[in-house]
């Protein structure tokens, strides 16, 4: 390793911030966003869309909390309540947490590895539009009064046409199928990008941890999403074409659904959490002024979690009666996976140990993840013990557990990433005062909402229940949760306001406002359309923290080229193709076997046109020409 002289704490900004991108102005206007294939714009679109779904999912949660404020209420009907909690879970997982992570993958990963874009820019746009259309399709069900009502796990046979004859489960099956396509494509794109498009000297073991976690997550996406796709196809056939894969009376097996769902479902939660782990693995070293402690161990732990995550799924099925041998196997694997997870926590703490810790909002949220994910992980250890889980499963105790890891872990990690990379994306800082308000109201609101649920669950309140008996005596815990929920709502409003205020009038930020170590901090804020005028050569894990290396990089990355690098043209085929994919699945709802084929034919047409479109065609080609 070359000598390690840390960049000074208040690094002089190597380049003043700027709006004008030298050469050509970037096109603005709706059409330019609809046809963009720029990973940065796509990242922004993913992020803003996920915020809209966060609001929808949050409102669903607040209505739930109002209904549960007191026992034996009927603020909403039982049917509506069942739709609300189904959509809350489905929305938050598939339309908020996953896409928000993809927003970060999109914007940040090419910048961290020294690439101009992802490997397949049009495929990238396609993934976004399919996400948007799939999310709209799923939520259109509300307009039909038929939102999915089968919980986010959709256990058979409740999802069969016998017990769920309406459109609700149709929307669920088809909506998730559409969204799965988007995720699989994204996974392929990022694996290829990370393997193929790293700048010279950017060895795998020099990549920032955020990119490493993106890498592992992308493999999980590509392998886990097809499993739920298979499950959904089998269920769709049961519902539309009278097969009986999950119908017990005909020899099918409801347990089969559970296995297929959870073989997807458990890797899915690692898909959700690894990006957040990646974010704070970058944030904590920056604001501790020390490199990440145990970098290789953190990498291997992440990879190991990815692998072992395939072997734990039936810990969601301890009450299903698989037998003591199967139960014990999954007890063992589930407890084993706690070890690399704990190791990561210790490495983050060791990074801070002996450091010079700066407590800004990004760092506060990162520390919050360390503290709160530990709580969720420990209640997870309790669940890992099968006999104990027989009490805790399907109670509010489990609801407490997964909200601690998903909100206390993942969402806090995402917030940390937003505050951290906002200056890079916009060239401005978010407001630190508002950030402090956001952080503390989140901390208070979150714990007030979810900590009492450990108790209501322990005292026998099951989950997915429209109401509860006064006899249970759990009213106090439910009241506290409701108050906490509204505080969380307020904290989210503060966040959104801070985003807006920061983007409009935040203090200007240069290329490396935090004095951070990784490559994305070597280019202007916001970056040029083409990211890097020429590709820099990297020599270490913390390129911006080694003086000589940093200088040699910035000579390249901050230059204004005479001729700007050629970037692929915008294209409208991604959005058109996305409409085709959505329509094909949606038309299955008609129940007429040949109607989806119309959508398929249209999709094939769009694919053909896409395939023969020249992304680098000059004037006169389809779409706007970006550069000469």
């Amino acid at each position: 390793m070359s000598e390690t002289t840390l960049a000074p704490d208040t690094a002089p900004e190597s380049t003043p911030s700027h709006d004008v991108h030298g050469g050509h102005e970037e096109p603005t206007g709706l059409w330019s966003w609809i046809t963009t294939v720029d990973h940065k714009r796509i990242g922004i679109m993913y992020f803003l869309t996920s915020l809209v779904f966060l609001a929808i999912g949050g409102i669903e949660a607040l209505i739930i909390r109002v209904q549960l404020f007191a026992p034996e209420q009927a603020v909403v009907s039982a049917e509506t309540y069942n739709q609300l909690f189904t959509m809350h879970g489905t929305t938050m997982i598939f339309l908020v947490a996953m896409p928000m992570a993809v927003a970060f993958f999109n914007y940040i990963v090419p910048l961290q590895i020294g690439a101009r874009d992802v490997a397949f820019p049009r495929l990238n746009a396609l993934s976004y539009w399919i996400y948007l259309f799939g999310g709209i399709y799923l939520n259109a069900s509300w307009l039909f009064g038929a939102a999915p009502n089968n919980s986010w796990v959709g256990y058979a046979p409740l999802t069969s046409t016998q017990y769920n004859p309406g459109l609700n489960a149709d929307f669920w099956v088809l909506g998730l199928s559409i969204l799965g396509v988007s995720s699989i494509m994204g996974g392929v794109n990022f694996i290829t990008t990370i393997i193929q498009l790293r700048a010279p000297g950017m060895k795998l073991m020099r990549m920032p941890i955020f990119t490493w976690m993106t890498f592992v997550t992308s493999f999980l996406l590509v392998t886990a999403l097809p499993v739920i796709a298979v499950a959904l196809i089998l269920l769709a056939f049961d519902r539309f074409y009278a097969t009986t894969f999950f119908v017990a009376a005909s020899g099918g097996d409801p347990v089969l659904w559970q296995h297929l769902f959870w073989i997807f479902g458990h890797p899915e939660v690692y898909i959700l959490v690894l990006p957040a782990f990646g974010v704070i693995s970058d944030v904590i070293p920056t604001f501790s002024r020390k490199p990440l402690f145990g970098y290789p161990v953190v990498v291997y732990a992440g990879v190991l979690i990815g692998f072992i995550g395939w072997g734990v799924w039936s810990h969601h099925m301890f009450t299903s009666g698989l037998g003591p041998i199967a139960d014990s196997f999954f007890v063992a694997t589930t407890m084993i996976i706690a070890i690399p997870t704990g190791v990561k926590i210790f490495n983050w703490m060791a990074t801070m140990w002996g450091g010079k810790i700066r407590f800004n909002t990004a760092m506060n949220f990162a520390i919050g993840l360390v503290a709160l994910f530990t709580v969720g992980g420990l209640s997870g250890i309790m669940h890992a013990s099968a006999p104990v889980d027989l009490q805790q499963h399907d109670s509010y105790f489990v609801v407490a557990h997964f909200h601690y890891v998903i909100v206390g872990g993942i969402l806090l990690g995402m917030f940390s990433g937003v505050y951290y990379w906002f200056p890079k994306v916009t060239g401005r800082f978010m407001d630190e005062k508002l950030g402090a308000w956001h952080f503390w109201t989140t901390l208070v609101g979150f714990n007030l909402t979810f900590f009492p649920m450990h108790f209501s669950g322990m005292y026998g309140q099951p989950r997915r229940t429209w109401t509860y008996s006064e006899t249970l005596n759990v009213e106090l815990f439910n009241q506290l949760s409701t108050y906490g929920g509204f505080i969380l709502g307020v904290s989210t409003l503060i966040f959104v306001w801070n985003l807006y205020k920061g983007a409009k009038s935040g203090e200007r930020a240069g290329s490396n406002p935090w004095g951070a170590p990784s490559l994305e901090w070597s280019i202007p804020s916001p970056p040029h359309h083409y990211n890097f005028p020429a590709l820099p050569t990297v020599q270490s894990r913390e390129p911006m923290w080694h003086e000589a290396e940093r200088k040699s990089i910035e000579v390249v990355t901050l230059a204004h080229p005479e001729r700007e690098p050629e970037m692929p043209n915008p294209s409208f085929w991604p959005i058109l193709l996305a409409a085709g994919v959505t329509a094909t699945w949606a038309l299955v709802m008609t129940g007429i076997w040949w109607v989806p084929l119309i959508g398929l034919a249209y999709t094939a047409f769009c694919t053909y046109m896409w395939a023969f479109e020249d992304p680098f065609a000059k004037k006169g080609a389809v779409g706007e020409v970006s550069h000469g």
Partner: protein, 404 residues
């Protein structure tokens, strides 16, 4: 929160966990099964609280000790330490083993069948629980399960429709109820089982714990654990049934008018009920009870009227419900034998009183949306509205409450 206060609060909450204050508490065990789980849980609780304390204390120390100050030097650029990595991998691994070993032992111990156990069938329906005693006299009851104390029991659990889960926290963990799979001739059908020996007399509260549709939240139950003598008495009373009621003239031992039986042969349920209603309306003089015992007490008269209404088929009750010792032998809905002794109705949701029974019979959909039972004005499942009047409902409710 200071540690001592936290410990005190935890103590208070644990003490308050006695079943009285939290009747569905999962930390107030009353069976051997529940005690095994509780012991394991407490061990794991201590380990996890210990780990949480270490992590949070060290984290707090770090945040205080290493916060940036204007005069603090640039930190030493440490990249890692192999020894530490090994240590904090091995120590958690050892803790995991300490938790996993008793876990696996308990898993096997609690899933080992006891050959002496009495098998009791537990069948989940949307949205009620059926219980059967196949090893006694195939007694059937609903929503309130009676068990003798200190006698091993094997609950054999399955579902008649969608997934449910049988959960009575004080009696132990839950098990899911699955619809029975069609299996080849000669193959065993797979059930789910709970093995336990109740150790305390009392009434325990439980609830369905697997989302099963619209009124999943309103699918509770009670388990009454009583002495062997009391249990045997209940079984004997069940078998005696409710056939010996106040005699009435033109209805013999069967509740259905024998003159109507031929007519009703092969009729659809709706036609059957219509025919019974017509027969009811055209009976000459309902008070002409030649040979009957005189009924003086108005309450008894109400009960008798309810019995006649129920057993005549008016409203269609007997199409779904059974009462041992009478002609009512419907199997689609809960068995109502000894209903008057149950503490709750509507699957553990309402206190078993005249008023609540009236509410339930009039409009079950308002209490339990999606229930398959019709009300007086609203059809339910495949059954038309019962059309009973206010007085008739009161009478039927009084009759059912009298089934003791």
């Amino acid at each position: 929160m200071r540690f001592s206060r936290l410990a005190a609060l935890t103590g208070v909450l644990l003490l308050a966990a006695c079943g009285g204050e939290y009747p569905q508490s999962s930390i107030a065990p009353a069976t051997d099964f529940a005690h095994r789980i509780q012991d394991l849980y407490f061990q794991i609780f201590l380990w996890t609280m210990g780990i949480l304390a270490v992590v949070w204390i060290v984290l707090t120390y770090i945040l205080v000790r290493f916060r940036e100050k204007p005069d603090s030097p640039e930190p030493e650029q440490i990249h890692g330490h192999l020894g530490l990595e090994i240590a904090w991998t091995i120590v958690p691994a050892l803790i995991v083993v300490a938790i996993a070993v008793p876990t696996i032992q308990t898993t096997f111990d609690t899933q080992t069948p006891d050959p002496d156990a009495m098998v009791v069938d537990v069948i989940g329906h949307q949205f009620w629980w059926e219980f059967r005693y196949p090893e006694l006299g195939d007694e059937r009851t609903a929503n309130e399960l009676r068990l003798p104390v200190d006698r091993p029991v094997a609950l054999r659990i399955w579902s008649d429709d969608v997934l449910h889960s049988f959960w009575v926290p004080q009696l132990g963990g839950k098990r899911d109820a699955y619809p029975l799979r069609a299996v080849p001739e000669g193959d065993d059908t797979k059930y789910n089982w709970i093995f336990m020996t109740p150790q305390e007399v009392g009434t325990f509260m439980g609830q369905c714990a697997e989302f099963c549709g619209q009124s999943h939240a309103i699918m509770g139950m009670r388990v009454v654990v009583e002495s062997q003598e009391d249990f045997d008495a209940w079984v004997a009373d069940w078998n005696r049934g409710h056939g010996e009621m106040v005699e009435t003239a033109d209805v013999g031992s069967s509740s259905v008018d024998p003159m109507l039986e031929d007519e009703l042969e092969g009729a659809t349920p709706i036609a059957e009920i219509a025919a019974l209603q017509e027969a009811q309306d055209t009976r000459e003089d309902p008070t002409d009870l030649a040979g009957a015992t005189r009924v003086d007490d108005p309450q008894d008269a109400l009960v008798e009227e309810g019995r006649q209404l129920f057993q005549s088929g008016l409203g269609g009750c007997i199409a779904c419900h059974a009462i041992e010792g009478t002609g009512a032998a419907g199997v689609l809905g809960p068995n109502l034998t000894l209903l008057g002794r149950r503490s709750t109705i509507a699957a553990g949701w309402l206190e078993n009183t005249q008023e609540n029974l009236v509410r339930w019979i009039k409009a079950p959909q308002e209490i339990k949306p999606g229930v398959l039972m019709p009300g007086v004005d609203v059809a339910g499942g495949n059954w038309p509205a019962t059309g009973l009047t206010e007085d008739q409902v009161r009478a039927v409710a009084a009759y059912l409450l009298s089934l003791r």
